[in-house]
Symmetry: D2
Subunit: 384 residues, 4 copies
């Protein structure tokens, strides 16, 4: 490292689950990515509740806090706005921040539906700044390795993609009616929350979809209200979806997400079958990739390779620890925000590694098509 | 064992893959199932080619051989006819054998399509003898255990079923155009061959389906002729299918089969998610069942149980070896034919453990619905 | 198959666990190994109890039975004597059968101690017939594959061998004092029963040992008598042993066997670490071999290969089923006795694939050294 | 959080592998452990090379840096000295820091041998401050869960412990002669580096050892000098060790560590067999614990539980992420230093969760006994 150190101001919207994950990542970047393109300075954090956002500011190390999100967007020290708010608050602050000339990271899914997403996309097209949708599973080293193997030709023509993102946090019928279960806040259920990830990975790894057909289901239709558990309210999103998909390149597949898969905690699992190799990934073991290579030179030992993706030559690993010293879920955010930081500071492209706002919009079009198919009982052709 | 030993005559149609598996099983029954309901006597075996069927008779231990399948059906020493012929030869010999008053086992799928299957079903309804479709994966001890756990209430309300039967023996484009790739002999591709198994397991484990929607695909459209590899012929069945399914009981699921899943050799894999437990099975490790039990009394150790299904209290295991001394794929046939033998000799019911001809017919209706959906792009309601 | 079929007479000593496994194997050989060197004819079986051995004869298909083992050895129709009796009855019948000019298979361990084993070895040296110790785990296809990979140079110089054979059938203190827990019948505990297998695999895979040092332990010192559970008798063998070993070639390792490893049913597990590759095997998943190859041409996918050892090019598999259609524990006996049959009929060598009586003797020397070390607290040098 | 925030000054010795891991952990504590006992303030860091330690200070966020370790110990703002230096620099700075009245964390192994360790132990006994040896694997949530299951009686009487810590970073003969391969700096090879961890876990989980017997081996005796690869120097530590152990409570076991286990990257693996349950752990999958419970109420599903140790009721997990969002290797340091911080600020005991200097001393006595046994060929009784 030589010369003067560049610092860059971060403004955060939200301090909950994603706010914590992103704040931690911004802060840890210089420890691992040394020398970094710039050292992130945590300027200001927004939250609805004064007491809580004040505490968050101390905890994560922000200089200031506010209960008005516009303060973050207007803050002259802020160069990057990081939008970690719930889905119904993606559109307005993201568009305003872009218009204000800030670089913007926005959590996934981009919006509650493709119409909203389209508006953000139009704003991003006009903006001169960098913007990215935070599809963090593009930044798991094992997933990037999968992409690399496909691009280098190890896999060959792809025949199959099967992806399922399974969780089980709704199996208890007394679990309350949180915002994620209400259409006005979330847009959809696991389709947007989990399905958006696997649809993004499908596009990242396999290519553009041509047609989809799906079914959705709400297993438990009423739940206690969080503010008053003696009362019950209607669940207005699906509890699960299943779909079949055909890609432009001829591959076919299955997609599925649920919050009712007892025993599956964060099981974002995909399998790709190609003419020369197959690949399997499971987010509950993010440091591993399973690869079957049919052109193995020693035919006797052809089999599924259990690759521990912790070698220094594996994507992003050189920044962390020696082989076998695994990284965790939170490191996806470090990789992702480092990628964004590098793009901002050194004027590099977000894609193809990162997801652009355009990717976020196309993602929403596909999710809407699955809902449409579930409603009509018909295959839906994808058209952006 | 006391009193006189009862022997029972077996007549076999076919000596290839299934003929070998069934002949072996009949012969091994007394070694393991002691005392057996009766000791099978291998009377006569049919095959098209004299030299080959003669050799098969010596090898497997049949007293006689023939190149006319009607000889088997008419043979007075034969009490059980076992039809292991290709799909296009299921209907006629099965119906004739039933009409001749023989007990009949017929390989799956029951026929090339639901129309043919219906004819066999009508014949079976008229017959006084026992008949069974050889869905042997109902006889994997781990699968029976899954059924038992569901019936005993450990699983509770079922939310999800996902099944996929993946093989990879067609990935080489120079693999010849065998009978299984020609509609006139096979009826369909992996749908009938592999999909019939998972559809049968779906009905056995979960219940009746309500609606299905699917896509099919033929990846390699021409292949060398087996009789003359310099010429190529058209593949007239699908290479793979994907489908979504809704069951009468409200569960939803995905179904899939292919012969293009590089690295998957005989991967008949299903997962069931219920409100209280989940279950996973994989035929490449048939001695294991994975079970997640959410009502575990010691909360700290809740997790997926890797159950080695080799204890004497597990289904069928007491007939074999001590714990940890695993059985193989071929033992599914021993269990299945022992079940049939017991039903025949002691006049017991084939169902619910075994698949009846009615089950075989309903199975074909569902397969036909998937094909219809793939053709029309619409969800198809199941109606028997 | 052409010309006349050769049949060969088998005489069996014992009808229990091993008697069943061997009888079944002899009988199944022609079904799988076609054309076989000869078709085994089951002539006569010996057991102490008339009623039981008579039943066994019917069940397994022997022409005759006897309660005098000398009848088997003298029987002129018998060419091969298969000694499946308990350890204290290995020496005398084996030596007599050899002297009678029979080919002899004898179960492992060869004897109760190295002194007895030496006597059998001397008899075998004098005999003109074939003889083999039934170390059946040399005949697991995955184990033979391990051996092949070592011999072909894939592994390179070997640094480590660690083997443990774990079972748990003695954890219940009320389990009775069976013959395997009494020194006069068994010679030793898991050392002879399980340890003999891993010591045999150590010699088969790695080479001759140079030095060993071990500890033994009897955890439960008294148990109910089988004949009268109200009385208790002393356990006179060890319940478990642990040892360290150095090989002539410089590799070092650990050896261990126990009947007190809760949850391990038949866990015969070894790992080999070489300069270029490592190998792991576990008998509870006998159709799999795990191989790590450090010279992988695609560095990114270096990892443990989970090899499903069911391809037709894998050892012995071509005789069975298509890929992914797994075989079971009992098939080790088919492979082993086919190997012996082939050696007898076609005058081939038992070694290096099979274990000779000399191997059985050396095995006992090593087991005795571990006991000696446990007694003296000193490293023991191996000397045959 | 209420009232004034307490800050506590940290002084760091070393900036390499462990210096990075510890600095990161101190810095991340408030993000996860909220509210923390105190917020660590990174005051000063020591390193030999000015340029490098200056960069480390910026990167990790220390206010000051120095090339004289005594500056750290004397610094009045420093309350906790964290000694991450190589083994030969454990004794002197640790003793001086204790004498200076600082709280001290020191990396493992405590010293190069038990004699040095004894001196540190004597100093710790005299000190009024808190001190801890950084055996971080005591702070893996899955390992703490194992301890809890033993203490709560789920496991019952323990019969077996088998532990092996396997790495492979020395298999390349051209790897240079780094300090870890030279006795004067490291004291021993994998015995001190890796073996110290498994010996510590043995004492933490099972209890005090009674006797050990071991063998050591140096496979590659000369290596290139780091400073001049054209010259070679002698490896003066062992490359691997194997040992057997008997515990005071009657359990027996095997211990092993190596840097020559091709394909094992950071394979710190142990298995415990008790009369009622067994437990297995593997550091390459640190978020999982495998548990076999023999008193399972549903006998049919007895099996190895694959416990994903990411539930909020699991040790330390409530501070991190939702279920299935795994943590990494580095989090062991967060947990460990949080434990120490809590002990310092709230005057709590380091043990039994953390390792005291006394534990570090006893650890060295056992390691020395294994070396002594390897030299003499005799079992060594442990005496502190």
């Amino acid at each position: 490292m030589s010369g003067e150190i560049r610092y860059i101001g971060i403004g955060m919207l939200g301090y909950a689950f994603m706010g914590k994950a992103h704040s931690h990542a911004w802060r840890d970047i210089p420890i691992f990515f040394w020398p970094p393109p710039a050292i992130p300075k945590l300027i200001v954090i927004y939250g609805r509740t004064k007491e809580k956002v004040k505490e968050a500011a101390i905890r994560y190390g922000y200089k200031r806090f506010t209960t008005n999100w516009k303060d973050v967007i207007k803050d002259p020290e802020v160069e990057i706005v990081d939008n970690c708010l719930p889905n119904h608050l993606h559109k307005e602050p993201t568009i305003e921040a872009l218009e204000e000339g800030k670089h913007v990271v926005v959590e996934k899914p981009l919006a509650r539906n493709s119409k909203e997403a389209r508006e953000i996309y139009e704003a991003a097209k006009k903006a001169k700044t960098k913007s990215m949708v935070a599809f963090n599973y593009r930044f798991v080293p094992a997933v990037i390795l999968a992409k690399k193997l496909i691009e280098e030709g190890l896999v060959g023509r792809i025949y199959h993609f099967r992806a399922r993102y399974l969780q089980d946090w709704l199996i208890d019928p007394s679990f309350p009616l949180v915002w994620r279960l209400r259409k006005e806040y979330a847009g959809s259920g696991p389709l947007g929350d989990l399905g958006s990830h696997i649809v993004d990975l499908a596009r990242y790894l396999i290519g553009e979809p041509k047609r989809v057909s799906g079914m959705i289901k709400t297993f438990i239709e009423e739940r206690p209200l969080p503010e008053d558990p003696s009362k019950r309210g209607k669940v207005t999103v699906e509890d699960a979806f299943v779909a079949v998909i055909e890609f432009e390149n001829g591959a076919i597949g299955t997609l599925e997400a649920t919050r009712f898969a007892t025993g599956r905690k964060n099981y974002n699992n995909f399998e790709i079958n190609g003419e020369k190799a197959s690949i399997e990934f499971n987010l509950e073991r993010p440091n591993e990739l399973r690869v079957y290579w049919h052109e193995e030179p020693v035919r006797d030992i052809e089999g599924w390779h259990e690759v521990l993706v912790t070698e220094s030559h594996h994507p992003y690993i050189k920044y962390y620890w020696p082989p076998g010293h695994v990284i965790g879920w939170e490191h996806t955010f470090l990789n992702e925000l480092y990628h964004f930081l590098d793009a901002v500071v050194n004027d590099k492209s977000i894609e193809p590694q990162g997801a652009t706002i355009e990717d976020g919009y196309k993602n929403m079009v596909i999710l809407d098509a699955i809902l449409e198919s579930a409603k009509t009982g018909k295959v839906i052709e994808i058209s952006y």
